[in-house]
Structures are given as structure tokens and as C-alpha cells.
Symmetry: C2
Subunit: 712 residues, 2 copies
């Protein structure tokens, strides 16, 4: 990691000042911060001369004292920072972090009590704003029991379109609504939670990352950065006023956060542009996170993987459980004497097949779910020991598999499903990680399906945010990479902990077997969920019509086969699954070649076209070679993508391998119709590429001389 750091002090601190105003480095944004007559702080934000956020309140309310009014501004400090840093992995090899910073020091107004101090820190980038509350040591309080954060986002007279999912304390695995403030009540009423334990929030609440589009249009992403030691933020909508306000996830006793001072909240973020592509390209959330805390990151290896997983979703009636005896208790039952149900794919022979397939196709990882004791009794919340993380099922010969995988140059990926018993996972964590390392595993997929234990907590309450941090820190100590499912949604912490390769934290590809994901879903996720960090979406579904398997599954996935290839570009992640069964990949071996070739770590990225919910076209440069890759997706409508290759170095010929929807392809009727063709291109080429309904395109661009050399 290499930080170049420039500090350009602009204004000296001024005591007793009011109404602080700064502009972003380019001058596009203007931010104003002040306190009103009651001493309540507020801010407003302009973009290119237009009001984005009207005067909106700021503040925190704790049992011990209120930080939302009765303040005077005692000083402001403005600085410009321009630095670049190199992420361990990601969409760019180097990221510029360029902003003007404003610190507004507030103190309790004379005559008010108790004495309080707070600093509001704003960072105004050319692609948006981040701000946070900094609570220094106070004379009158060491601890705060936080009851409310009063941050507001007032959109004034705008009536933007909202791309949103309902507020929920325990799950984010929803399809998006595309609605307005006026339509929000109806849209939100239509949801059902995924889990029976889903804790939908009363009132009109939505989750971040939230995307808004105004009529002009302006695109606005609201989220948070560096969520640590604090609960996740939802947003309550006030439809009459077109206003959103922070709604912190409480614990079940009603407390939002227990804080010890000094404490800085996470950053509240607004990414704003009149060009939708800028939203996708923005690195603002990562920039607001702390630098990498892992000294030696050489062991962190982005990778693709296949896995024993989709078999359980396809209608093969395969099970995570080894036995049908649902009363088997891990640690108590002698599993060696338990009858197998014969439908348990995490068995030695089957896993060896996956290892063989991975080795043959240069896929570094093989995930195996259902390998350990506890799946018989898929009931969380009622007991303290759901799973054992060091007890393989009798038909899973972990030592043989580990050495077999090693002999093939493949790594097994561990799976730790906790059934949301985070307390018990912490109980077992050190032993589970030791066991992983002893058995040669370097990465683990964690899961939290169900209602959380400790029973005072929600999936996104402060304690669980802290749990996630604990797991990632301990994983780093063991040199273990994490792919967390059902964890608090990401806020760019993967910059600080790059062993946090990916998270689920949204409705992923698995839902293609549970109701389906419409094509628009993956045209929204990059504008919303992905702004916090990579998603383990599990692309690569080739057999999209699940009736193929019989067994009563009638779901057809919302995708063509080619679109699944494009997702490796439009849904970038350093950890990408090829989710389908090896047998399906063997049936479409030429198409699978793209998955085999496509990298998961990038030197550069160019967003060529973008409109939320409609389409995305992106080009990316491999970090390890000079190959470019292009991916494009559309919604349920056919579309012609305009792929302007002017990003290619001038004068260099490239061989393009184009994986495209066949002319008669359609995600509803003919999803597996594709063509692969080759074409020589250069920086002057503009491809007008047809995309089928629910389809896409995936292109590999190799410098022609190297492509030819490779063929010889």
C-alpha cells in the first residue's frame, strides 16, 4: 500500500465563526453548514448550482446529553487533501482520494447545560460528500447511550425516483422497488421478509445504499462508510416533505448504540452526479475508510471458485444435512452411527469431482457446504449449539480431500453456517480457524441465517457490527479470507481489512431458484449494494430453466446465459463463484471458457454506459495482463449497447472474443442461445452490440500479437 499524501491548509481555524461554506476541488459542489436559532446544526448541498440537499438537520441524542441543539460554532477548519492509494484488490490499481475537508467545532451555547462538544467533519469530493460526527472527550460524560441520530437528507421540492428495498433490521435480501416518495407506502406494503425472523421496520423505512434519481436527472446514492462500533443506518422517509432521516438499528431493548468517548460515527455519504456512470465509478466510500490494517497482504488472493452448493437449490432434492434424523445433535449424537439420507452431496467422491473440474479449468477454489455436523436440525434460535466447525460428517473425509485438492493445485473453501448464533460462533471461532489452517483452508464463507443469538441483537445492530469486525480481525490474524453472508451490509471496510473479499448482503443469485431475480435486479445492485463493497452474487448460471431438473422446480431465471458471463464484469468481486454444476459447464464448454479466462482483479475500469435499473456497460483492464474485458447487461428489454473502445491504447490491434446473445435469444423463451465470434478491433472501434431481453454481452480483448503468440 502506497499513500501519497498532500495537505494543503486553506483556512486557519477561526473562533466564533458561523455559516461555513466550502466547495469541492472542481467547484462542482458547494456545502454550507450552520446552526439555526435553536443552536441546531444543519447542512445543505449544491451541485452545479442546483440544490441537491436542502437545509437538513444534523445531530445525535443520547440519554446522557443531547447533541442536536443548543450549540454555537466555535471554530471551523478547512483543508484540501489530494492523495492516491493502492488497494490490495479491486476495480482500480490506484485510487485518488481528493477532497476539501471542513471541520466545524460545536460547543454548548452559553447558558445551556450540560457542557458539550462535538465536531462535524465534512469531506467534499468531486463525486460527492461524506460527513460524520466526532464526539471528543467530554467533561460531563464518558459514555453515551444513544437513542437517535437526527441526520436528515431533505430533497426539497424534488420528487425523485427511489430505487430501494424496505427497512429491515435483519435482512436485505429483497428485490428493489422503483418508486417515488408518493408511491413508497404502497411499494413497501408489498414486501414480505425472506426469513420468518425478518424484522421489517414500522413506518416508511428503506435501506442504504439507496439510489435516487431526480427529474433533471441527478443521480444520488446515499450510504455510509466505515461502519464500525455503531449500528447500521436505515432511512425513514417522510413522503410529504421528500425527506429522509437516519434510523439507526436498535438492539431489542431499544438502545441504538453504547458509545465510549471519544467516538467518531461512520461517515454518511452522498455520491451525486448528473451522469449515472459516475455513481458506478465512484470510490468515495472506500476513500472514507481507514487504510489497510494488515501489514503483509501477500496471502490475500482474489479468486474464482466452484462449489457443492447449487445442487441443493436445483430441485435435485440434495440436502446440506447428512441424515434425515432431525433430532441429531452435533456434539452429542454419534454421527458415525447415524444413517445417511443418501442425498448428501458434500461427500468425498462428489467433492473430488468438483476438485477435478476446478483443476481442469484453472478455478482455484472449491466451496463445500454441508460438510459439518448440525444440518439435520435446521432450527436456529432455540439452542446454543447448532453447528460444530471442526466435526466433518462421516462421508466427508477432510484429510483425503485436502491432500487431493493440494495435489491438483486447488484449495477447498470452508463453510461456517452459524444459523445466526453469533455468540456460539464466537465461542468456537478460534478453534474453527485453527482447524481450518490445520486442514489447509485459507478462505471461509460465513452465514447467519435465522434470528440472532445473542437474543438482544439484530443482524445489523451495534453488537453484530462489532461481531463482524471481530471475525474479520481474527481471520486476519489466522491469514484467512472471509466471504460473509447475512452480515451487516458492507460500507467499504474491505479497504481496511482486504481479507474481507466479499459479502452477500443483498438478494443474490440463489434466488433464481426461489422466485427468481428479474433482469433489472442486477442493473440496480451496482448502483446500490455494490457501493459498499463486492458482492458474492454467485454468477455463472448456465442452466437457467430449473424445470430441466424435474422435481417440480418451475422457476426460470431472469437471465440469458450470456448475461451470466457479463455479470463477472458488471458485478465485480475479487471472489467470484461459477455457481452452476460442472455437468452444465461441460455442456457449454466454449461459453465456460469466458469464466475460465475472466480475471477478478483489475488495473482499471471504464463505465461506458449506465442507467439504473436499465443497463450497464463496463470495460475493465486485467491487473495481471494487458487484456481488457467488456461486459454489458440490459433489463427485460432488448437493447443495442454502444461499446466505444476509445479507451484502448491508440494504434494497438486487439482480438475481441465476443460472447453474445443469439439473435433469437430471450431470457423468457430462449436463454441458452448464444454465439461466440472473433473480431479485430482498436481504439477507433465502436461496437453496436445487440443485447437480448434479459441478456448481455461479454467480450475479451487481447492485444493481437499476444493473442497470436498464445495460439502458437
Amino acid at each position: 500500500m502506497n499513500n501519497r499524501f498532500y495537505l494543503l491548509p486553506l483556512l486557519a481555524a477561526s473562533i466564533g465563526a458561523s455559516a461555513a461554506v466550502i466547495t469541492s476541488p472542481s467547484g462542482n459542489f458547494t456545502l454550507e453548514v450552520d446552526v439555526d436559532g435553536a443552536g441546531a446544526p444543519y447542512y445543505s448541498l449544491d451541485y452545479k448550482g442546483r440544490k441537491v440537499v436542502s437545509k437538513s438537520g444534523l445531530g445525535l441524542l443520547a440519554d446522557e446529553m443531547a447533541f442536536d441543539k443548543g450549540f454555537v460554532i466555535t471554530g471551523t477548519d478547512t483543508t484540501t487533501v489530494d492523495r492516491t492509494w493502492e488497494p490490495v484488490w479491486g476495480e482500480y490499481a490506484s485510487i485518488r482520494d481528493h477532497f476539501r475537508e471542513l471541520a466545524v467545532d460545536l460547543e454548548s451555547a452559553p447558558g445551556t447545560s450540560p457542557e458539550r462538544k462535538m465536531t462535524l467533519r465534512f469531506r467534499l469530493f468531486d463525486d460527492g460528500l461524506g460527513f460524520r460526527y466526532e464526539l471528543p472527550r467530554q467533561d460531563k460524560a464518558n459514555y453515551l447511550t444513544l437513542r437517535r441520530e437526527s441526520t436528515e437528507f431533505d430533497f426539497g421540492h424534488e420528487d425523485p425516483t427511489l430505487f430501494c428495498i424496505p427497512g429491515d433490521y435483519d435482512t436485505d435480501e429483497y428485490l428493489f422497488s422503483e418508486t417515488t416518495f408518493g408511491g413508497l407506502a404502497e411499494a413497501m406494503a408489498s414486501y414480505r421478509g425472506r426469513h420468518t425472523e425478518s424484522q421489517a421496520v414500522e413506518g416508511l423505512s428503506v435501506q442504504t445504499p439507496l439510489l435516487l434519481k431526480t427529474s433533471d436527472p441527478l443521480y444520488i446514492n446515499i450510504h455510509e462508510a466505515a461502519l464500525d462500533g455503531y449500528p447500521a443506518m436505515l432511512l425513514d422517509a417522510d413522503p410529504s416533505g421528500k425527506k429522509l432521516s437516519a434510523h439507526l438499528v436498535p438492539d431489542r431493548l431499544g438502545v441504538r448504540a453504547y458509545l465510549q468517548l471519544p467516538f467518531n460515527t461512520p461517515w454518511r455519504t452522498l455520491i451525486v452526479s448528473d451522469d449515472a456512470r459516475d455513481i458506478l465509478a465512484s470510490q468515495l466510500v472506500l476513500n472514507l475508510n481507514e487504510p489497510c490494517k494488515i501489514e503483509d497482504t501477500s496471502w490475500i488472493t482474489p479468486m474464482k471458485f466452484v462449489g457443492v452448493w447449487w445442487e441443493m437449490f436445483t430441485g435435485h432434492k440434495k440436502t446440506w444435512a447428512y441424515s434425515d434424523d432431525y433430532r441429531a445433535k452435533p456434539g452429542i449424537t454419534d454421527y458415525s452411527k447415524l444413517p445417511s439420507n443418501g442425498r448428501h452431496p458434500a461427500n468425498t467422491a462428489n467433492v473430488m469431482k468438483y476438485i477435478d473440474f476446478a483443476a481442469k479449468h484453472n478455478i482455484p477454489g472449491v466451496l463445500v457446504e454441508g460438510w459439518n455436523e448440525g444440518w439435520e436440525d435446521w432450527c436456529s434460535y432455540r439452542k446454543n449449539r447448532q453447528f460444530l466447525f471442526d466435526k466433518p460428517y462421516p462421508d466427508f473425509d477432510i484429510d483425503s480431500l485436502t491432500s487431493y485438492a493440494a495435489s491438483k493445485g486447488v484449495k477447498l473453501i470452508m463453510h461456517h453456517e452459524t444459523a445466526a448464533n453469533a455468540a456460539d460462533y464466537e465461542r468456537q471461532l478460534e478453534r474453527a480457524f485453527s482447524y481450518m489452517k490445520e486442514k489447509g483452508y485459507d478462505a471461509v464463507k460465513t452465514g447467519y441465517v435465522g434470528a440472532i443469538i445473542p437474543r438482544s441483537e439484530h443482524h445489523t445492530s451495534q453488537w453484530m457490527v462489532d461481531h463482524a469486525r471481530h471475525v474479520i480481525e481474527r481471520a486476519a490474524a489466522y491469514r484467512i479470507m472471509i466471504d460473509s453472508h447475512e452480515a451487516p451490509r458492507p460500507t467499504g471496510l474491505c479497504r481496511t481489512w482486504p481479507n474481507w473479499l466479499a459479502q452477500e448482503s443483498a438478494r443474490g443469485g440463489e434466488f433464481e431458484s426461489m422466485g427468481g431475480n428479474p433482469p433489472s435486479h442486477t442493473c440496480i445492485l451496482p448502483f446500490t449494494r455494490l457501493k459498499g463493497g463486492p458482492m458474492d452474487y454467485t454468477p455463472g448460471l448456465f442452466q437457467t430453466d430449473l424445470s430441466y431438473y424435474g422435481e417440480g422446480k418451475t422457476v426460470k431465471a431472469g437471465t440469458t446465459l450470456v448475461r451470466q458471463l457479463a455479470l463477472y464484469l458488471t458485478m465485480p468481486s475479487p471472489l467470484q463463484m461459477a455457481c452452476d454444476l460442472p455437468e452444465n459447464y461441460e455442456r457449454f464448454a466454449d461459453a465456460f471458457q469466458f469464466i475460465e479466462d475472466v480475471p477478478v482483479d483489475w488495473r482499471d475500469s471504464r463505465y461506458l454506459e449506465a442507467e439504473p435499473g436499465r443497463h450497464i456497460t463496463v470495460a475493465r483492464l486485467d491487473k495481471a495482463s494487458d487484456d481488457w474485458y467488456v461486459g454489458a447487461v440490459t433489463d427485460e428489454n432488448a437493447r443495442k449497447a454502444l461499446i466505444d473502445l476509445s479507451f484502448l491504447p491508440k494504434g494497438v490491434k486487439y482480438e475481441a472474443t465476443i460472447y453474445e446473445d443469439a439473435p433469437d435469444a430471450d431470457y423468457r423463451t430462449n436463454p441458452q442461445a448464444y454465439r461466440i465470434r472473433r473480431q479485430t478491433v482498436d481504439s477507433r472501434t465502436k461496437l453496436r452490440q445487440p443485447l437480448a431481453p434479459g441478456g448481455g454481452v461479454a467480450i475479451r480483448l487481447q492485444p493481437r500479437d499476444k493473442a497470436l503468440a498464445a495460439k502458437k
Copy 2:
């Protein structure tokens, strides 16, 4: 461990039977069990022809189904068991486990739904009764969300005296009330909790072990045995009916227990006798616990210890904290740069003095409190990281001290104060135990002062009972002995986990510096708290008047110096502190000789005199020699103990070394006046030994030939 096991089947199972009646092996007790017209099970208990417990209800109520009515008896099974077993340590080298057992099988009455099954298992000993609920696998339920246990103890027309402390979900560190059902409301209203977080229970609730004394008199101890996977039981009193009923400690969401079937509840226990000494001698609670689960127990070593501890209570203004900067945060603050407050006794030089003292006086252990980062900020509940268990303060050179202690044949005892953040303790546990072993520690005192995290829990709710079990199991895996403070009160689990040497779980000696313990307190504890297991009471207080230290401490302890010696006999524990400062022991070196000599593990014990709240006289035979020891204590009244030495082997002369209150001793005015005299005695000797108000006597009896040989 050597179990001799005899099974004497008495009755074959009979189907469709009703009203089961059994008697105890000696015939003293008669138990009747039946269901009433509503199918509700009940029991009653007679002792020597007198009703002890009138018809009293039994049952459990879960959200899923009710186990408290609608039953028919489908079978009963009666067995007699007579076996002996050898505890790893304790009051006896060998314990007889002799009872008649009755199993009553209940099933849902025809026409009731859902289908249910339950077995009531009773064990009727010659010193009382134990019974539990056994929930087998059910066709209609795998899990139960328990809302109530309906166990009753109805004392009919009796109006017994109760020796009790108030019901509380979070603390048991109370002085006892000696009251009646009629006086209970007034007695309970007088209590204040020790902690601000104390969760006193609404209504008239008391804790177990509870002692009742009827007018005849009969002595009745009510408690529970083998509390595992279930919350602790309080007792709600119904003053009008002289009835007690079970009150399970709930979590903060109101659930009593989450159970997976099959499940057996802890045993509910009644120890009953017309001779108070039998209550003290009873091993009923241990007998109802499971045998030892630790295969090799050679590393479990009963011991005495001194410690850096009382300095913080005496008014020396010594602190557990290294620094006065209360905002220091463990793991964040660089303690090496933190200014010491200069009042931190857990420093290398001071601990070496304790090691020297221990080595000189054959005390195997030295406890050190305040050795690790985190004490500055003595505030629990507000943050997730209170203490680090592998970070010594900068003035505590753990490596030097470990090797210094080893060179002197002494072991340091670890201290883990968790500030009741049990979740964080579990987070650190494996590393904390590894660190201990790495540094040569074999035993740890744990503490849970404050309100529990997870915030859904109480100190004695199901999750915390499970936490205690987790800690003791993991400790056993590391060969670590535990002395737990502020943990769920003991229920004999130390039989199963003999590395659980002792617990606090009552108002201990530390309160001599915080309000004081009246002399009667230690005349009640052996009848109540100690029936669950040994207490780390911390006897050995020689400087009983704390005004001695200046600094404003005016408390005078409720004890003479000699009484403190007697406590080593009347409050038996395999882990006994000599709590006072070395300098005080050097001032009374001849008296300290008794502490140096007295064992902590016994071959046999004889209770010679006993009356709850009044006096106790006990003789014990050293497990490792032929020496007997006698201890007697009285309440605030002077008394003449009658010490009948007929338990000595006939014809053998013993040299008695008698540590006695001086004639003018009085705990209020002259607590340190004592005499030591020697006398030859044998089995015909009856000592009439005066005890001062608040005083006692401590006697060592050595076979005269060995005593003479030792002097040569």
C-alpha cells in the same frame, strides 16, 4: 473415581397405575405422587409420619404445549440404588449414594391434544428428596419455549422460619433475613441490591438454597442439583398459603428457557431432618449430579492461597487500576506511556513479596488482581471490550514473576474480571487460557461484576448457566481450575467438573470492608449457600478493625481473630484464601500457624453441633494424614461449645493445639485477643470450649506419637 454400583430392582413397571408411593431406604420418608382430576401431577412428602410437603403441584408450561395438566399416569417404575463414589476432593473421601427411585410416566389423557409425554423422576434418600422433569422426544414437538415451571412446595399449616435472601436475577450477595412467611414482605422490602444493576424480582421471591425451620423443629433445605442448560430457580412465596413455587430466571425478553428435546431439568432438592447437623452433613446435592467427566484429575490440586487483593479493600487507597486516566482503553491506549497512579499493588516488587510470604508459609498459590489492562474504566455494559486477558500492565512483569514463583515452589493464580461482559470473555477465552498455560498458571478466579452482556441475559438466566458450563469445560480441556465469582450459584456441578474448585455466589468476606458481615452470617451460609458447593469466602481476616488503616475506613468486621481460623473448618473449600496482608500475619505469626497447617481436603467430617444462624461445631479428618481438626463458630452471643471427641479412634492419644478466644475477647471490642494452648486428649475427652461473642475456636489434633516425632 471409583463407583461401586448396586441396582436392586424392586417393582416391575406397571401400566395404567395411579398414586405411586415409595419410602426412603430407612423408611423415614414417604413420597406420594399422583395426578388430580384435571390430570395435573402433584406430590407430597412425609418425614417420620409428619407431613413435610403437602400436596404440591408439578409441571412445565411451554409455548408449544403444556406439561402441567391433562395427564394420565401410564406407568411407574421403582428401583433402589446403593452405591458409593469417591470425590476428587471434598468433605469426605467416599460418599454413599443410597436412594429409592420412582419414575412416573405421564401421557396426555385420551381426548386431550397435543400428544405429550413426560416422566417425573424422584430419588428418595434418607436425608431428603430430589426430583426432576424428563421430557423425552415428542411426536408433536422438537423444541420448547419454556414460560413457566409450576413446581410447588406447600408447607400446609406450618409457619416455618425462613433463612433467606431476596429473589434477584443478577446477584446473591445479600445478608440473610431470618423471618416467617408473614414477615417476608417487610424483610424483603428492606433490601438494597449490591449492584446498581441488581434485578430484584417483583413480588415475594427468595433464592435457593433456602433453609426453613418448623416449630417442631424440622430443618428443610430447598435447592436444585445439576443446573445445566436451564435457568436458575428462584422461589415465589405465597404468604397466605405458606407455599413456595418455582420462579425460573427469564432472559430479558421474558423467555425462561429454550429447550431441545429430549431434555431433563435440574433436580429439585429437599434436604430434611429433625437434626440440623444432618443438613450440614448431607451430600444429596452432589449425589444427584453426574459423575466426574474429567478422566485424568491428577492436575486438580486443592490449595490455599494469598493474594494481592485485600489491599484494595482496606482503605490503603490502593487500586486495581494502573492509572487514574479513566479514559484509557485496553487494546487502544498505549499503556507503556500511561502515567501510573502509584497506588497499584499488582506490581512486580509487591507481588514478589507475596510470593516470598507464600513460599515461607507453605501456601501454594498467589492470586493477583489488577494485573491486566482495563481497570481504569470501571464501567461495564457500555462497551464491548472492557479487559484484555493477555495484556499485563507495564509494572507487572509476568515472565519474571512466573519464574520467580516457580523458583520458590509457588504458583500464581490468574484473575479474569469480565465486568459481566460474558460475550467478550467467550471471545477471548481460548486465547486467555492459552496465555495462562504459556505463563504457567493453573487456576483462575473469574468475575462478572456488573450487568451482563449479552444484554438479553441475566447472571442466572439460561444463557449464562450455559456460559458457565462452557467456561468450565474449556478450562478442563486446558487443565485449568476455576474459582468463579458472580456466577450462577452452585448446584453440585463440581462433582462432574472437579476443576470447578469454588465459587463466590454469596456475600463473602470482602463485605467486611463494605458494611460488614454479622457473626450470624457464617452460621447460616453452611446451611444454605454451601449445600451447592464450596464457597470462596476468603477467610483469614486478622486485622478486623479497618480503622487501623486510617483513610476513613471505620468498619469493624463481625468476627474475632480466632473465628477466622474456625472458618477454615466450618466453611470448607478446596480453595481457601488467607485473605489478610502478609504484614498482619507476621504480627500474629503463632495464630497464622493454624492457617499454615489446616488442610483443604478431607477424609471424613463430623458435625458435632449445629443450629442455623446460631452456631456450628465440626470436626474433620485430614485426607493426607491422621490429623483431625475442629472448628466452631457462634453468632453475636458467647457460647460454650461441647466438643465430644468420641469420634477419635479409641485408645489413641492426641495432642490438641487449641486456638481460642481470650476470656475477654469480643468481636466488637476486643477481637484480636486469643490464646493458644496445648492439651492431650483422647476419644473420651469432652471439651467445653468457651466461644466469645462473634468468636470461635480452632483445634488441631495430632496423634501424640507423631506430634512428638515431628518435634524431634
